[in-house]
């Protein structure tokens, strides 16, 4: 018996699936992306043996109506591969047949031990209120609304950003909370980069690391909008907002320091994070089924 498989699935239900089932905001593009991502984790978890496939069938039966109620998600939010996987699941009488799961061998030995950590990181990003609000805004803001928002960036207060970062419940949506969400997204990107670096170290010549990135990284690639041109531009512009806040913090707390001392490092760091996210997550959008 692997009793932990039961606990994993129960925890996954409470963390991911049940909150979506209770919300059912099926018209919102972001909600649909969340639903598909959650089903993707379920599929991948069963595929590598992290979840028990028979228990997963019970869970799927309970969650299936939520997916059925969702319209087709945007092509820039859900990869073609995941979309096809979910479509297969929807029409199948045996959603997780044994013959379709990963066989025991080097790839399973590589992927299965990593799944807990991958899911932990994915869950923490999914449950990060501020990061979610930031991504939602990047996806949903109108061009006019975005430009108006940008006009207020110059006066952003670093202190307020700190407040937003530590509000447990929050609710205030302003420039400071947008930046707080952006910072948390960057933090998650760093955590993800570190995880995939570790995964690469674990991989061997017998394992397919690229496939792993495309399947696991592709699940939550949409949470950092780098695929769609317009949203990618917005995400890039948030760096300016970060710089305004940094200037404010430095002038108040370290008046003897110069902005130019950190400007280059900051820019380099963010560019590097974005590039890595593209390679390890967004690249999954290039895969055609």
């Amino acid at each position: 018996v692997n009793r932990f498989q039961s606990l994993r699935l129960a925890q996954f239900w409470h963390t991911r699936l049940n909150p979506l089932r209770l919300t059912q905001d099926t018209d919102a593009p972001v909600f649909r992306a969340r639903v598909f991502e959650a089903v993707g984790w379920l599929i991948e978890g069963v595929f590598c043996g992290f979840f028990d496939r028979l228990q997963a069938e019970v869970i799927w039966a309970r969650f299936r109506p939520v997916v059925a109620a969702c319209k087709d998600p945007e092509g820039t939010m859900v990869t073609e591969f995941l979309r096809s996987q979910v479509a297969k699941l929807m029409v199948s009488n045996s959603p997780f047949p044994e013959s379709a799961q990963m066989t025991r061998g080097p790839q399973m030995m590589f992927e299965l031990p990593l799944f807990s950590q991958a899911l932990l990181l994915g869950d923490r990003l999914a449950m990060s209120r501020l990061a979610n609000e930031c991504a939602d805004y990047l996806y949903s803001a109108s061009d006019k609304g975005w430009e108006q928002q940008k006009a207020s960036w110059v006066s952003v207060s670093a202190g307020k950003v700190a407040e937003r970062l530590t509000e447990t419940f929050g609710g205030t949506q302003d420039t400071a909370s947008l930046l707080a969400g952006y910072l948390l997204l960057l933090e998650h990107m760093e955590a993800s980069r570190s995880f995939f670096r570790y995964a690469r170290e674990r991989s061997t010549r017998q394992t397919d690391f690229e496939s792993y990135c495309q399947r696991i990284g592709g699940l939550n690639a949409w949470r950092v909008p780098l695929v769609d041109f317009q949203r990618r531009r917005r995400f890039g512009q948030l760096r300016e907002l970060f710089e305004f806040a940094m200037r404010d913090a430095i002038s108040k707390e370290l008046p003897s320091a110069k902005w130019s001392d950190v400007e280059g490092a900051l820019s380099q760091q963010i560019t590097s994070l974005s590039d890595t996210w593209e390679a390890q997550h967004s690249a999954a959008f290039l895969v055609r089924v």
Binding site: W60, T168, L186
Partner: protein, 395 residues
């Protein structure tokens, strides 16, 4: 608990359920091997199976029956009693070969300890609790990155951690004052040590099934394979987490209403602790050299109360040292001493004149920054060794 919601099928031959003994995948016994500098630690490349007996539910499930149930579930999208039965039977499926002996990631309830989580050992005999306390601007996951994997991946420590549960405490290090964080940590520790509070470590499965199938009684799964009573406790802190731990120990020692023997006997490992204050002059240097986001966020949040506390060595940190050293001289308790690892290139915290309290032990490491010093990797196992060597250091 689960059997209560099932019909009695004890007379149904092979489709019945029975409580019994079942063999599960178990760890391959290994010796804890020390590594020399420059050695690349062995990563587990294979897991051999060894017979071990655990009292578990023993399934004799008929696959055809299960498939039949599954089809009904999908077609009708409704669950009968067979739905629950299928779930229970599936629960008893054969252990996975590659992760049956790894720690289970359990998220603590958000209402009690938001974003804190635990790595639960599959061993029934686990008697060790290790509590990780992150530092200023850090979090329970990122600060300790790769600990979560390496405790099960490295031959170096696999056996040592096999009987240990790891608890990653999250608190609002940036905004709260130290006293508040100390209070939170003590509540966290009290909820775990010596016996973990049951409600924090149970997963309710009612909502998975329709209400008519489960009734109103909660159906719960406990994450521990057996009752836990921790005999060995380790506290591990980074940066501000070191201050929070030491203050928590002092508070515990002075609290006569609640004796916390296990906490006072805890072994303590600290990474670049902020025991001697932050060093603002090195602030930008750290920011520009740090490969991740932690340093940048630290920079952004520098004007917070906790930061001010750590700068104010006369107000908080000096008394902390004086009282800890005094108690260490008076009482022979492990928790008044710590093993500290410093980075030689730390621009964020001050190492003080000696880098330690009187009874502490300290060491330095090359090539690590303030934020990376506590993150082990395949080629950097010092953070793990610091913990596993504590008992030898403070017998």
């Amino acid at each position: 608990v689960l059997s209560a919601c099932l019909p009695d099928r004890s007379n149904e031959g092979q489709h019945g359920l029975a409580l019994g003994e079942m063999d599960v995948a178990a760890k391959r016994p290994r010796e804890v091997t020390g590594l020399k500098a420059g050695d690349r630690p062995a990563v587990r490349s294979s897991v051999t199976r060894k017979q071990r007996s655990l009292p578990v539910w023993s399934p004799v499930a008929d696959p055809k029956l299960l498939y039949g149930i599954s089809e009904r579930l999908i077609e009708g999208c409704c669950l009968t009693e067979f739905g629950i039965l299928a779930a229970l039977r599936a629960m008893m499926d054969e252990a996975s070969p590659f992760d049956g002996n790894r720690h289970h990631f359990h998220y603590l309830p958000a209402k009690a300890f938001l974003d804190s989580f635990a790595l639960i050992s599959p061993s029934e005999k686990a008697d060790t609790a290790i509590v990780f306390v992150h530092g200023f601007g850090g979090d329970a996951c990122g600060t300790w990155s790769h600990f979560h994997q390496l405790v099960d991946d490295l031959d170096l420590c696999e056996v040592w951690f096999a009987t240990a549960d790891l608890f990653f405490f999250q608190y609002e290090s940036v905004w709260e004052r130290i006293d508040s964080s100390v209070n939170r940590l003590l509540k966290f520790i009290d909820a775990i040590i010596p016996e973990p509070e049951e409600q924090l470590f149970t997963v309710t499965i009612n909502s998975i099934f329709p209400e008519e199938q489960t009734g109103t009684d909660p159906i719960e799964l406990n994450v521990f394979p057996a009752t836990r009573v921790y005999k060995r406790v380790f506290l591990v802190g980074h940066s501000e987490g070191g201050v929070v731990i030491r203050k928590a120990v002092l508070d515990a020692a002075s609290d006569e209403r609640r004796p916390r023997t296990e906490l006072l006997e805890a072994r303590i490992a600290l990474f670049a602790p902020a025991l001697f204050g932050y060093c603002p002059s090195g602030f930008l240097g750290t920011l520009s050299g740090f490969p991740g986001l932690g340093g940048i966020v630290d920079a952004l949040l520098s004007a917070t109360p906790a930061y001010q506390d750590l700068k104010d060595t006369q107000g908080l940190l000096s008394p902390l040292q004086e009282q800890t050293e005094k108690l260490s001289a008076e009482k022979q308790r492990h928790a008044f001493r710590a093993s500290i690892l410093w980075s030689r290139k730390d621009h964020v915290v001050k190492p003080g004149s000696s880098g330690k309290y009187r009874d502490d032990v300290r060491d330095y490491v090359e090539g690590r920054s303030h934020t990376s010093i506590c993150k082990p990797g395949m080629d950097y196992t010092d953070p793990i060794s610091l913990i596993t060597s504590l008992e030898k250091l403070f017998p």
